[in-house]
Structure formats: structure tokens, C-alpha cells
């Protein structure tokens, strides 16, 4: 008996320690970055462009670049991946085709970002002739976000209870009406989660945008202008030893942006689920 309790307690203890390590490492990183970076973050830092060959000045252009590149990525990838998810979850069933798409999506999600960057560089920068640009960067990031949004949305659509679909079909709704009016609204929180995850990948990406969007720290005038995202800015400042202070400042702003996106979407999703009545 004693022995069994001992093992039990040790087991629980180990789980507890693992949990603590996870939470602590996350906290340490965030706190450290904020502590190092926040003192630099002033109104001027947010609203001015880099100056003196990036050694001084702010990060306004890079914030614009990150937001724009992410927006393009999400606008391009969301419709495609949600449509594909609907097809896979509702129409295709478990065929060799859907299994292939699923396998492809999982493989895509695991490919190192530099490979996407190389692909984007050859396809969009080079062949398509978009040069280093907002567009090339955005579309490359769209490819990276695609498998994430696809798989998460597919799962969200799959878990919509059959009873809802049957209820709708039994009233003479067509399959399309059922999907559009019942399945998608019910799956929406899950789909939004997928979009946010895809967004997270796009916001945080460095290698792929460095190779496709360039490193031009000015506010772009059109989608064909090169840009420098915040992550590339951090990379440049750190590797060329231009200003560690400003690198941390940029990182702090980036962390806050990601946290803000996550918290807002969590809040919106919870409110939406409550409206659906699923709060029980």
C-alpha cells in the first residue's frame, strides 16, 4: 500500500513540476523581453521610421509591413483553406484524395520556413516577377498558413453534430443550405481559432519573408514595394549588431501584438459561443 501511494505521489509531483517548467519558461521569456524592450518603447519609437542606418529611430514601417503581410496572407489563405475544409469534411468523405490532401497539409505544416522562403523567392519574386515585395511575402505566408487553417477548420466542421445536419435536411434544406446556415455558424469558433493560429505563424515568420518581401524599412506605397517586417528588423538589428536595445524594443511590441490578437480572439470566441448557447 505504502509503495503504491509513494509512486502515486511521485507521479503527481513530476507532472506538477513539468507543468511549472512550461509555465515558468513562458513567463521568463515574456517578462525578460518586456523588461528589456519596454523602456525603449515610446510613442516616437512606434511612430517613426528607423534612422541612422537602423541604429536609431523607431519601427513604424516594420509594424505596417508585419500587419500588411499578415493581412494579405490571411485574406488569401482563409477562403481557400475553409473551402477545402468544407469539401473534405462534408463532401469528399474518407477517400484516397482526402487522405492525400490531409497528408499533404500535415507535411506542409512541418516543412521548415526557409524552404517556403526559397520556393516563394523562385516562384513569386523571380518567375512571377513581383520582385521582393509585400505581395510576394504575403502570398508565401499564405501558403504557410494554409495547412494550419485547413486542418483546424476541418476538425471544427467535423465535430458539428449530425443531429443538427439531419434536423436541417429533414426540413427540406439542401445540403448547401445546411452547410451555410447551420454547419458553418456552429463551426465558426473553431474556424476562427484556425485563422488565429495561421495568423500567428504569419506574424512570427522571419526566414520566409526575408527571402520574399526583402528588408526595406520604409512604409510601402503599393503591394509591389519591398518591406521589412518586425521579425526581419529584429534579425537585422541583432545579427548586424546595430542596436540590441531597439531589437528588444521591437520584440516587446511584437509579443504584445501577438498577445493582443490571442486575447481578443479568445474573448470574441467565448462571447460567440455564449450567444450560441453552448456555455453550459
Amino acid at each position: 500500500m505504502e509503495h503504491r501511494y509513494l509512486i502515486n505521489n511521485v507521479g503527481i509531483g513530476l507532472l506538477w513540476v513539468s507543468g511549472c517548467i512550461t509555465v515558468l519558461s513562458l513567463l521568463v521569456i515574456i517578462v525578460y523581453i518586456l523588461a528589456q524592450g519596454l523602456p525603449v518603447v515610446t510613442w516616437g519609437f512606434l511612430t517613426q521610421n528607423p534612422a541612422s542606418h537602423d541604429r536609431a529611430g523607431g519601427i513604424f514601417a516594420t509594424i505596417v509591413a508585419t500587419v500588411a503581410v499578415t493581412l494579405i496572407a490571411i485574406l488569401v489563405s482563409t477562403p481557400i483553406s475553409v473551402a477545402a475544409a468544407i469539401y473534405m469534411a462534408e463532401y469528399a468523405g474518407d477517400s484516397w484524395l482526402t487522405n492525400l490532401v490531409r497528408f499533404g497539409a500535415d507535411s506542409l505544416a512541418g516543412i521548415p520556413s526557409i524552404v517556403f522562403g526559397l520556393f516563394g523567392y523562385i516562384m513569386f519574386v523571380h518567375y512571377a516577377g513581383w520582385n521582393y515585395s509585400l505581395l510576394a511575402g504575403g502570398v508565401t505566408l499564405a501558403l504557410m498558413a494554409l495547412p494550419i487553417i485547413l486542418r483546424v477548420s476541418e476538425e471544427a466542421i467535423k465535430v458539428v453534430p449530425d443531429s443538427y445536419k439531419h434536423g436541417s435536411l429533414a426540413m427540406g434544406a439542401s445540403k448547401w443550405q445546411t452547410i451555410w446556415k447551420v454547419v458553418l455558424p456552429t463551426a465558426l469558433p473553431g474556424i476562427i481559432t484556425g485563422v488565429i493560429l495561421g495568423m500567428g505563424r504569419a506574424v512570427g515568420e522571419t526566414a520566409a519573408v526575408l527571402l520574399t518581401a526583402g528588408s526595406w524599412a520604409k512604409v510601402p506605397g503599393s503591394v509591389f514595394d519591398p518591406v521589412r517586417t518586425m521579425t526581419v528588423h529584429i534579425y537585422t538589428l541583432a545579427t548586424e549588431n546595430l542596436s540590441m536595445k531597439n531589437a528588444y524594443g521591437t520584440a516587446a511590441v511584437l509579443v504584445i501584438m501577438v498577445l493582443a490578437i490571442t486575447l481578443t480572439s479568445n474573448y470574441l470566441t467565448r462571447r460567440y459561443i455564449k450567444k450560441l448557447g453552448g456555455s453550459r
Partner: protein, 272 residues
């Protein structure tokens, strides 16, 4: 979607007609259903009269729900299902190739075992059917919602909560809401698949009261594993056993003097 193989036994000309023009609103002839190679319904022939309640009883797995789902072709959704024989709705074989399943299901509504309101407001649930069938006018929708909820005896309970989530009301109310949702598209037949099996006795008796009122306007077919319920509400009762229709008669006759030994064994509780 499952391929439906149909053999037309009787080919009646399709003409718009009132339910009263036929002895039976729904009439199945030699209806067989296969799940792959398994025969789940064996040569079912029975007719369902307008403005009556027909109960289908039998032990679990006897095919009663499967038969019910044949009547509005919900079995089409099950992969590998094949149906032979015919089942007519107002003289028209619903398994004909050119039958519009969507239109058919509008006329033959269905209430499921587990209440399945959509995760939207009470109002939107009832307005769902009219909306998908093209009603956009707000006043018209308001009118339909009120009328349907009144018919389902829910209006007084829920009139002030129309914008609340349909999932926030009780199970019994949810099931009556599902009935109201069906009524909103003005069907002629209501198929009910054990509609009270997930409900407590009080909610059950409300559903039964409702059925008695609704049969004035609608034809009701109810599948139930509860024999007392069948005896209480139905006019005619069919007893199914292992995919076969054993006996079909007036409810009173079937329960008091069944002509088949197996029916008697079942209703006296010797098996099932």
C-alpha cells in the same frame, strides 16, 4: 450520398391532390431495405391514414426507426443503403428517380429522438424552415413564428424569450420547439422518432397532448418503444419484429386482442 436502387411496383400518375383523395396518405408496398447485404426491412406493406396517429412499436433493432426514415428518405444519408419496393406519398412513389427529395421533406417533417434545436435563437430556429424556403419578409416570419409556437403550445412560455438561445430552454421545451420548427414549413405529415424517450413524464405528457391536437391538421407517425404511449395516443398501431411487419391494426384491437402470438408476447412483456 447513397445510391438508391428503386423498383417501381405501382406507377400512379402524379397529380396535385389533397390528402383526402387517398385512403392512405402514405402507402408502402413490398418495401425492403438493405444495409449493404443485410436486409433490415422485409417486404413491408402498410398504409397510413390522414389525420390520424399511427404508432410503430417493437423491440430495439426491429427496423421501426429505419422504416420511419424511409418515409421522408432520410435513409439516403446512410451510406450503403438500398431500397426496393415502393412507398407512395399521396399516390406518388417517393423512390422514383425524379422525386425532389427537398420538396418531399418539406411536406413530410421529422422530429428526432434527441431534441436537436440549432444553436441559434428560438426565433431563428422556428424561422429557419420558412427562410430556407424563401420567406424573407420580417412580418410574415413573425407571423409564422408565433403561429408555429402557438401550435406547439410554446408561445405563452417563450414569447418573451424569442431572442434567447434555443439551447437555454429545458429538454421538453426544446423538443416542442423542434415540433414548432417542423410546423413552420407547413408539412402534411409529421414523423416522430421516439420523440419523448429523452424526456421526463411531465414533458412526455405535454408532447402527447400536443400530438392529439395536431392530428386535427396533420398526419402523425410515431415510433416508440413505450407501449403505454402507443396505446394512449395512437389510432392505429403497427408491430415490427426483426424487420418484418407482424401485425397492423386499430390500436385498441392490437393491444386487447392481438391476432398474432408474437404481438401478444411482446405487449405482455414476455420479451423485448
Amino acid at each position: 450520398m447513397a445510391a438508391i436502387d428503386t423498383t417501381i411496383i405501382k406507377d400512379t400518375p402524379a397529380s396535385p391532390a389533397a390528402a383526402g383523395d387517398y385512403e392512405y396518405v402514405i402507402e408502402s408496398k413490398d418495401l425492403c431495405l438493405y444495409y449493404g447485404k443485410t436486409m433490415a426491412l422485409k417486404h413491408i406493406s402498410m398504409g397510413i391514414r390522414a389525420n390520424s396517429i399511427t404508432a410503430i412499436i417493437g423491440p430495439s433493432g426491429c427496423g421501426k426507426s429505419t422504416y420511419l426514415r424511409c418515409l421522408n428518405r432520410m435513409n439516403d444519408l446512410v451510406p450503403g443503403v438500398r431500397v426496393t419496393g415502393s412507398s407512395t406519398f399521396k399516390g406518388r412513389n417517393i423512390y422514383d428517380r425524379d422525386v425532389d427529395v427537398v420538396a418531399l421533406r418539406k411536406q413530410i417533417g421529422m422530429v428526432f429522438q434527441k431534441p436537436n434545436p440549432f444553436p441559434m435563437s428560438i426565433y431563428d430556429n422556428v424561422a429557419y424552415g420558412p427562410r430556407i424556403h424563401g420567406t424573407r419578409n420580417r412580418q410574415e416570419l413573425d407571423r409564422i413564428v408565433e403561429k408555429s409556437l402557438r401550435q406547439a403550445a410554446l408561445w405563452d412560455e417563450l414569447r418573451d424569450r424569442l431572442q434567447d438561445s434555443a439551447l437555454s430552454i429545458s429538454g421538453g421545451q426544446q423538443q416542442r420547439l423542434c415540433i414548432a420548427r417542423c410546423l413552420a414549413v407547413e408539412p402534411e405529415v409529421l414523423l416522430m422518432d421516439e420523440p419523448a424517450s429523452a424526456l421526463d413524464p411531465i414533458a412526455t405528457s405535454k408532447i402527447e397532448d400536443l400530438m392529439r391536437v395536431l392530428k386535427e391538421k396533420y398526419t402523425i407517425v410515431i415510433v416508440t418503444h413505450n407501449m403505454q404511449q402507443a396505446a394512449r395516443v395512437s389510432d392505429r398501431t403497427a408491430f415490427f419484429l426483426m424487420g418484418e411487419l407482424i401485425e397492423y391494426d386499430n390500436t385498441r384491437k392490437l393491444f386487447e386482442t392481438p391476432s398474432d402470438r408474437r404481438t401478444e408476447d411482446y405487449i405482455t412483456g414476455r420479451f423485448g
